[in-house]
């Protein structure tokens, strides 16, 4: 079983996903767009299918390859929770820094008033 991560390692496979995101395509189109041999494209498509990133729709004699975004959305969820945690943490740090700067400024102004006396 090939994982989504393994499937995404290869730059050519990511390029294929980019092209399939635009529209479903035939193997021949991918061969032309990526200038890679048909066996090469077929091998990458097999990996992408095993990782459930791509599905095939048979239409008469044609096989259309389509993007399945679900595994990518799951991956995004997985990363998103951590990004959110960090984002929130640093928003709090921003607030803290803003407050401490305001306090420092106040302190300096107080000191100035005192020294003016």
């Amino acid at each position: 079983m090939i994982t989504v991560y393994e499937a995404l390692v290869d730059p050519t496979r990511r390029r294929i996903l980019d092209l399939l995101r635009e529209q479903p395509r035939l193997v021949g189109e991918l061969v032309g767009l990526l200038a890679i041999s048909q066996p090469g494209i077929s091998k990458h498509l097999r990996v992408l299918r095993e990782a459930s990133l791509v599905k095939v729709r048979q239409e008469a004699q044609r096989r259309w390859y389509e993007l399945r975004p679900e595994p990518l959305l799951e991956l995004d969820d997985w990363l998103g929770s951590y990004r959110e945690l960090l984002t929130e943490r640093f928003d709090r740090l921003d607030n803290y820094l803003e407050q401490s700067q305001a306090k420092e400024k106040e302190q300096q102004e107080d000191d100035k008033v005192k020294s003016d006396d």
Partner: protein, 157 residues
């Protein structure tokens, strides 16, 4: 629009991020090394963070405890290895809920256009440890920067 730039490369036992703060390196460094500051930003708002120990010097220990409304506690601890004011902190990090999975954290603060660029790197003992920390159930290592993937996802969504 987020200012956080998080990099998690598949198959690596580390992750890193950068973040710019509208403050001086001295102020950012203080936010990391002053207990009174830590309690204000380190933990999520719905948890109360208590500093049990915070010996900010090479070889010193730290232990923070977070408590939720039901009195559940989540504790973290580590050791400070390198403290260079106001530019560098190296420390270990361990969540006591998963003992033994220690990470090494390297934080640097650099002045940049009147602001501070924070760069953080966390290095884990294994890819599994890293993935476990980042997500709740990282089943496998990820093997490529996911920054590009983010763009892909935004358009796919």
């Amino acid at each position: 629009m987020t200012k956080l730039n998080l990099t998690i490369e598949p198959g690596k036992q580390e992750f890193s991020y950068t973040r710019v703060f509208n403050a001086s390196p001295e102020q950012v460094f203080k936010a990391y090394t002053d207990p009174a500051a830590i309690v204000q930003w380190w933990g999520p708002r719905y948890l109360t963070t208590t500093i049990e120990k915070m010996e900010v010097q090479p070889g010193g220990s730290w232990r923070f405890i977070q408590q939720d409304a039901n009195n559940n506690e989540y504790a973290f601890h580590g050791v400070y290895h390198d403290i260079v004011s106001p530019s560098r902190i190296v420390q270990t990090f361990e969540f006591e809920g998963t003992p033994g999975h220690v990470a090494l954290e390297i934080l640097t603060m650099e002045r940049q256009d009147g602001k501070t660029l924070l760069t953080a790197k966390s290095i884990f003992q294994s890819v599994e440890d890293r993935d476990g920390m980042v997500g709740s159930g990282g089943e496998s290592g990820m093997r490529e920067s996911l920054d590009r993937l983010d763009e892909l996802l935004k358009e796919a969504a």
